[in-house]
Amino acid sequence: MRDWKQFVRERLPELRLDAAREQEIVEELAQQLEEEYDAALTQGTTRTDAELRAMAQFGDWDELGKEIHRAERPVVARVPAPVREVMSEQRLRKRRVGNMLADLLQDIRFGLRMLRKNPGFAAVAILTLALGIGANTAIFSVVNAVLLEGLPYKDASRLVFIWSTFISQGVGNSGSAAPDFRAWQAQNHSFNGMAASSTDTFNVSVQNQEPARLDGADITAGLFPLLGVQPILGRTFLPEDEKWGQHRVVLLSYGLWQDKFGGDPKVVNRSLRLNGQEYTVVGVMPRGMPFFSDLPPANLFVPLSYAPKDEMNTRGNHYLNVVARMKPGVTVAQAQAEMTGIAAQLENEFPINKGLGTKVVSMREQLVGDARAALLVLLGAVGFVLLIACVNVANLMLARATDREQEFAVRSALGATRLHLLAQLLAECFPMALLGGSGGVLLAIWGIRALQPLIPSNLPRFNAIAVNGGVLLFTLVISLVTAVFFALAPTLLAAKTDVQETLRESGRGGSDGRGRNRLRSVLVVSEVALALVLLVGAGLLIRTFGALRHADAGFSPDHVLTMEIQVTHDEGEGHENRIVQFFDAVSERVSALPGVTASGATTTLPLGVGLGWGKYVSVQGQVPPASLDQVPLVRFQLSTPGYWVAIGARRKEGRLFEKDDDQQSVQVAIVNESFAKKFLAGENPIGKSIRMLPPLELIPKEALADANGHLAPPRTIVGVIGDMKDSSLNAPAEPTVFAPYAQHKDEGFTSSMTLAVRTRGEPSAMAAAVRDVVHSLKPEQPVANVATMDDVVAKSLSQARFSMTLLGIFAGLALVLSAVGIYGVMAYVVSQRTREMGIRLAMGAQTGDLLKLVMRHGGKLAGVGVAFGIAAALGMMRLMSSMLYGVSAADPLTFAGVAIFLMAVALAACYLPARRATRVDPMIALRYE
């Protein structure tokens, strides 16, 4: 006789159960075969026929193996176990706290075991969480560095900036004049100290080394003590260092000390040349000491010191950054009130101060103000991504909870309270959340590295961005919070389940109550709504970016090379003209280079590179304003004749500057269209006379006396050029007056110009040749910030690009996660309704009908989600309006496009399960289970 056990063992696939159980099953199945065989024999069939009849009972052994495995699977197999556990739970309740830890550990071990037993479920859940948590960790590390971490100054919360304001001119944030600063310093009672600084650039040469042009700062002696920063070598400045004549002392940054002096510990008292003058090193500042992070990093510091009659030291020159430390207990509002009083007093005392106010801003507010909105939007966005991830995991948990309904019911019946069930689920969820969190940290570290090149360099403290202790703590907290979130969903259900009902009910996964379906639907709807909000946000930013890229900058940025040249010079008689000649010579020789079509220099390139001057203006023949504070302020720029062609400016009327617009000829000016529109509307601007001064009768007498006859001359407008975007692509150009560099006269002079070179080929390829020209004229002349104009434009877009890219990534993530969520739920619904589908098919329904049925179900959920999402997005996009350009926060095209797109994705996600529904074989469906 055949060995039936052997027969079964050879055919039944491995069940992956414990050996004893597997043995039992084999024996039982063998017995079934043997009984059938015996029965056949007793009925008189042949041995062969009897064997065949026995064997025919089990057709598909693989299928049988799967079925048994499913029947024996842990969720169901656990029923006896929870009974034991719950019983011990009851006993545990009476025990002491010490045992609760053991209990918790047991629960966590149990949770890990559950994960191991459902590797598919675990992998999907952990990956989903890792994506959500990773996005949050990455953005939080940025927020942490930029918005939350303390500034590296002592008691930074008491530090404020004090700005001058010119409200009637719309200037809310101006630098301050040195005499005003000294008056504030002397008169205030709110502050422990007040200090001033101004950014400056220096041509630095240390013996035997290539000269370099470096950013630095002029500071008052009180600045570092005020900030609470100590030098690592030597001393900071003393008040007497500010005296003209004793001012040639310098403090090195750590970086410059390393670079130029090789970290020489005896650097104090060594000397270096700054702008051609000998300075003595008095100290070295500590490493990583950022100056104010929205300013260029300072490589060195010199005392803020004025020569007698220095025009920078007058009430007309507002250029100092003033920092102050509030006394303990003083609020920003109180400090502001006092400063307003002092400013009013100065207005009375000095007519030139008419209209001048002050603004006190906390240092943090000042340094992160602009980035805050964008970062908060991104933080909100990743919060949404995490919510969607949680919803997906909650859905998975819910599906599992359905399978485990019996287990929960048994536990409840045996006296486990809702809290016990929650504790158990939490213990199961925590390991999953922590694994997801760990994955998230890895993703975040990788993501920050990948995004580093995108982070705009003007983002304050951007180099402090890192996954550090604070960030890890944040990740831990959100991991635990998410665990609670998705542990709650099934617990709520379990709590609602009628124990009696469930115990009486049959069927693993048999009943899928309407309440559960509703919860699942709510989850899908909210997921779609969240994804829609993110997609709309990303859509609006993409449209903004597109609008910015296509915004007319007013010039042709392609094929333009730019570089800054601050001419090292002596202070001798006529040095200004020599510098003008130097730039003329550079322009001339560069223009003659093969591959160069034009070259010229200007004080300020479009898009905010270079020096920006604001000046009063009066137009001759117009009624003068009644008082000084009503005199308009406009931008003022100097440029050489070649500049216009080099930058690609558009001449609208009249002519451009020419070579013979020099000191000997008539003083001329070119204005931009904004100027013509604002001040000469309806008139022909050509030939009009303007002056970069208030009307003479409004100028205070002492200022007139100070000027000693050196007043800005009247200039004749000879041309109008098209507006060029000056500060950013999304702000309109300000009214601007251009004067020929060669005609500089009593309006101020600068030896720092930016050269623009228009090339035929790739502009950066010309950089070396242009530098050679500069060096051939002045061997040790440094050039700085060599960049193509395309780079400058790209840089001005970096903030928009950063926000767009990140929000785009997050919206994409949200889309994928919610599509997976919809797919999962629809697949579940279809599997729940397999029998119904089978019956419908058997009764003559067409496959198209079933397809429609499922698609309609999914489409309805997605549609409701889209509707909620649109409502939410309409409310929330208003928060983003400051980040938008060229598109409304309620842009119908974006909303409609996103809604249609999301519906299409949702329907596609429904389609797969729907098609599966149509493939149901009615017979199999009826026999199912």
């Binding site: 039982e28 089990f58 029947a71 029923v79 115990l503 049959s506 069927g507 379906n517 029998r835």
Partner: protein, 113 residues
């Protein structure tokens, strides 16, 4: 509405109710259960032995039936299944669901889809 009720009712064991009923009065082993289902349904239910054992294991895991190896003198040992208290409690509800299912099926069959 009908669809949902039908969907969930259908899921409830059609064959499970048969097994529970068969075990209602006394314990039986697998082969016996299979034969009884075949006999009682008069061959009308296309019942597969292959699906019997997974179903038994599932009911056992759920705690409605309990299997026990029994050795009688001169016979091979057999695994006998009996209804547990929980299973006994569940049976009436199962029967009710079954009747409900039939009612709904008739309704669907008459109205078409």
């Amino acid at each position: 509405m009908v669809a949902t009720v039908l969907g969930s009712e259908l899921k409830k064991g059609t064959s499970e109710v048969l097994i529970l009923s068969i075990l209602e009065n006394r314990p039986r082993h697998g082969y016996e259960i299979a034969k009884l289902i075949e006999q009682r349904s008069g061959g009308l239910v296309d019942f597969h032995v292959a699906s019997l054992y997974p179903m038994l294991y599932r009911l056992e895991r759920r705690g409605w039936i309990e299997g026990k190896w029994v050795e009688k003198a001169g016979q091979r040992r057999r695994r006998f299944y009996k209804l547990t208290a929980m299973g006994r409690k569940a049976l009436p509800e199962q029967r009710r669901s079954w009747r409900e299912l039939i009612r709904v099926m008739e309704k669907v069959a008459l109205s078409g889809s």
